[in-house]
């Protein structure tokens, strides 16, 4: 089962081995190599954002500001937010798993616009470099939300550089989204109708629509912040009659749909994992597919729920509140359909499934607490406190990151041609789950108690809860470090994987692991619907 040197010599050429040398990587237009380029970037930024978080949690072990000074703490939470949101969460699944899998899943030889794909990586890295420069050369202290007039007039840190870095990475996002939409429309193999596509594709399509329509508004908002800061003119600051609340409207018009960019791909992954590891079609396929579209559309209508106490009128607040409740319905539909898929399935407790089930549980809690913050009366008390922090971390970390890790493990054999060490992987998944809950559940309590966010110091009576949270964060850090180590190890030393180790449906499992550069020798003709386990049982060796 473990390859020997001799067998390696007769291994079929694949996208990893076909060409060698740094130029073949940096000038590649193969979507699979570009996905790996992105994995390096994404992982690097995740580590940077994670270190910032760890330092914050260490500071919060004690009520006083003693580990770092307040200005440094402010720069830490800003760096954590900017790096995690713009350089990790928004790109992660689409640029890694999405790039790798979308052509494979639809039966195409590459994305529609491969050079644009490579360009998007360079733009991502350029934006990242500029932002890292801003952080390393003294930091930014405005928070990732850049509220005016603090960011445009009062802050003395590298706001302009950070804004330029984020502006650039936004274009990377737009390029990726555009590429996916064009690909899904134009390059589906014969017989791959919209309703035969795996749900991963529906999620990525919805995500891409949000990316291309929302990101330009962020770009223009940051541009205005830059103009105000560099030229000293009043657009968002009140001295010249500008309106700081207008900034908030424009900022959140993108940044709320951005959270759907961060979660929809993960939901797509979870659909695939639940199907594969219960060996059943996803229950209510059409409903799950359309729920992604519904989330994308409704997601554009709710941005004002970030501004209930910011000075918007009572009537707008009520409109945004009721719309925020409606956007919760499609997510609920997904959770119920995934649960129904598990019912009477054939459940294999593999690592990807542990992550998927962890996702469902934690996303559900995160989503239910969303009902709290959508309630006008309650939000007045909990907005800008740790309650909101806990709410969105349950969704972003308990949801999006768990989905990312689950997908990474599930498709690892396809990407690398190797299996990861099973026992260690399961242990890491459980450590992540435990560490996560220990970190963030106490934060709900802290938020309801009234602990504001972005505070380096807090009343001494809240120390106990903060200590639990920091302990959880340390455990979570260990849980994340483990895959970094064993996945890297498995790249060279893991047992070789076959084309379809999970016996799953999906065109990506019909090609060798790792796939050849051009994916399919012959364009496949699709005759089965999605997750057609019964119809494909001979092919998969089941039953």
């Amino acid at each position: 089962m473990i390859a020997t040197a001799k067998i390696e010599a007769v291994e079929a050429p694949n996208y990893l081995t076909e060409k060698h040398g740094i130029k073949s990587w940096l000038l590649t237009i193969d979507h699979k190599r570009i996905a790996l380029l992105y994995i390096f970037g994404i992982t690097g930024f995740f580590v940077i954002g994670g270190v910032a978080a760890l330092l914050m949690r260490l500071e919060l072990l004690t009520p006083a500001t003693d580990l770092v000074d307040p200005e440094t703490y402010n720069k830490l939470f800003t760096a954590h937010g900017i790096v995690m949101v713009f350089f990790f969460l928004v790109p992660s699944i689409p640029t890694t798993l999405g790039n790798f899998l979308i052509p494979l899943m639809i039966g195409a030889k590459d994305l529609a616009l491969p050079k644009l794909n490579l360009a998007s990586w360079y733009v991502y890295m350029a934006g990242g470099a500029i932002t890292l420069y801003a952080i390393a050369s003294g930091g930014v202290d405005t928070g990732w939300t850049f509220y005016t007039p603090f960011s445009t007039v009062y802050s003395t840190t590298h706001v302009a550089a950070a804004a330029i870095g984020i502006f650039l990475v936004g274009f990377s996002s737009i390029m990726t989204g555009l590429n996916f939409i064009v690909t899904i429309h134009q390059l589906r193999a014969p017989g791959m109708t919209w309703f035969r596509m795996p749900l991963f594709l529906w999620s990525h399509y919805a995500t891409s629509v949000v990316m291309i329509l929302g990101t330009p508004v962020l770009a223009v908002t940051l541009l205005m912040v830059l103009v105000e800061r560099v030229f000293g003119v009043g657009i968002f600051s009140p001295e010249l009659g500008g309106d700081p609340v207008l900034f908030q409207h424009m900022f959140w018009f993108y940044s709320h749909p951005a959270v759907y960019i961060m979660i929809l791909p993960s939901m797509g992954v979870v659909s695939e994992l639940i199907a594969a590891f219960s060996r059943k079609a996803v229950f209510g396929y059409v409903f799950v597919a359309f729920s992604s579209i519904a989330i994308a559309v409704l997601g554009f209508l709710v941005w004002g729920h970030h501004m209930f106490v910011a000075g918007e009128s009572v009537y707008s607040a009520m409109a945004f509140s009721i719309l925020s409740y409606t956007v919760g319905v499609p997510s609920a539909i997904k959770v119920f359909n995934w649960s129904a898929t598990l019912y009477k399935g054939s459940i294999a407790w593999e690592t990807p499934l542990i992550y998927a089930i962890g996702f469902i549980g934690l996303f559900t809690i995160g989503g239910l607490t969303g009902l709290f913050v959508a309630a006008l009366g309650i939000d007045v008390h909990v907005t800008d406190t740790y309650f909101v922090i806990a709410h969105f971390h349950y969704i972003m970390v308990g949801g999006a990151v768990m989905g990312y890790l689950g997908g990474l493990h599930y498709w690892w054999p396809k990407i690398s041609g190797r299996m990861y060490p099973e026992a260690l992987a399961k242990a890491a998944a459980l450590i992540v789950f435990l560490g996560f809950n220990l970190t963030f559940f106490p934060q709900f309590v802290l938020g309801w108690l009234g602990m504001p966010r972005r505070y380096a110091a807090y009343p001494p009576e809240w120390q106990f809860l903060n200590i639990i949270s920091t302990a959880g964060a340390t455990i979570l850090g260990v849980g994340y470090a483990l895959p970094l180590v064993y996945l890297t190890w498995s790249w060279k030393y893991g047992p070789r994987a076959g084309a379809n180790p999970w016996r799953a449906t999906g065109l990506e499992w019909q090609v060798p692991s790792p796939p050849p550069t051009h994916n399919f020798e012959v364009t496949p003709i699709v005759t089965h619907k999605a997750y057609d386990y019964a119809g494909m049982k001979e092919q998969l060796g089941l039953g």
Partner: protein, 347 residues
Amino acid sequence: MNSLDLLPPTASTYASQLNYFFWVMVTICGIVATGIALFIIYCAIKYHRRSPTELPPQSFGNIKAEATWTVVPLIIFLGMFGWGAKTYFDAEQPPPETLNIWVLGKQWMWEIQHPNGTREINTLHIPIYTPVRLTMISEDVIHDFFVPAFRIKQDVLPMRYMTIWFNATRPGKYHLFCAEYCGAKHSGMIGWVYAMNPNDYQVWLGQGGGEGSLAATGQKLFLNSGCANCHRPSGHGPGPSLERLYGTPVTLATGAVRIADESYIRECILGKKGGPVAGFTAIMPNYSGRLSEKQIIALVSYIKAIGPETDLNQPSSSGNTRRDYSSQPGIAAPGSTSISGTIPESR
């Protein structure tokens, strides 16, 4: 307060209402979350894969199930929306009679000004069982006035008055936080709210106010800044009379009708209200940059004090009238007889 308190104190009328709603939400969401979790764990155990090639019976969907788990959550969510909106909406409108206190936020402290002239830094003394209305403004960036025990929170903006009200129900000392990130010492922009029995509050209030009430300070400014030259009490000057103005509707030359509340007066002083009053020309100098927020607060207090005598009216959008407890005895508009206001009796 010790570290095993997992709940904040409940010290206002709004906090009690909110607690009830909150616990109902926790119960419903707790039941749903537990239900889903138990169901998934049950499936994972009962339907554990028995052999590597096992193929379970396939099921693809059920319209009735989809309809149920779409409509039922939607109805529950709309119910939650309704309750939340009602709680919020009822709390939006202050009652007709409030004790009005000014709050000035700046990096990184809170300056509170009571109508009788008492100032405090980072503390707010208020009587219980009295509706208190805070009119707040920032001198620099956006801050946020947050008192967890009262469950109130409101962003404090530069160049614009924001108001919030509450009715404290328990004497005590409660946390006050700035809850909108405002720069280096954001976590230091904290203080205490002291809710006191009304008698104790009167005693405390009497200790301050050495420099005279806000309205008196405002009157001095009114004379020294040249306002009185144009705004004569008779109304025959280049500017309209400001006596009996506060709280009444004003028609501008553009045809728009505004209510002369704190924001309107501030905008007039700073030249931002969008044109002169009907029947007057736009010759009022712009005091932008020449008066601090504190001075504007004093001027507004003065104009409130010379407002309509019998009905100290602030018609709100719901048509209620509001008696302003902040008027003080002894303030006279130039040339007019003095008026007396009232101080609230303790309940």
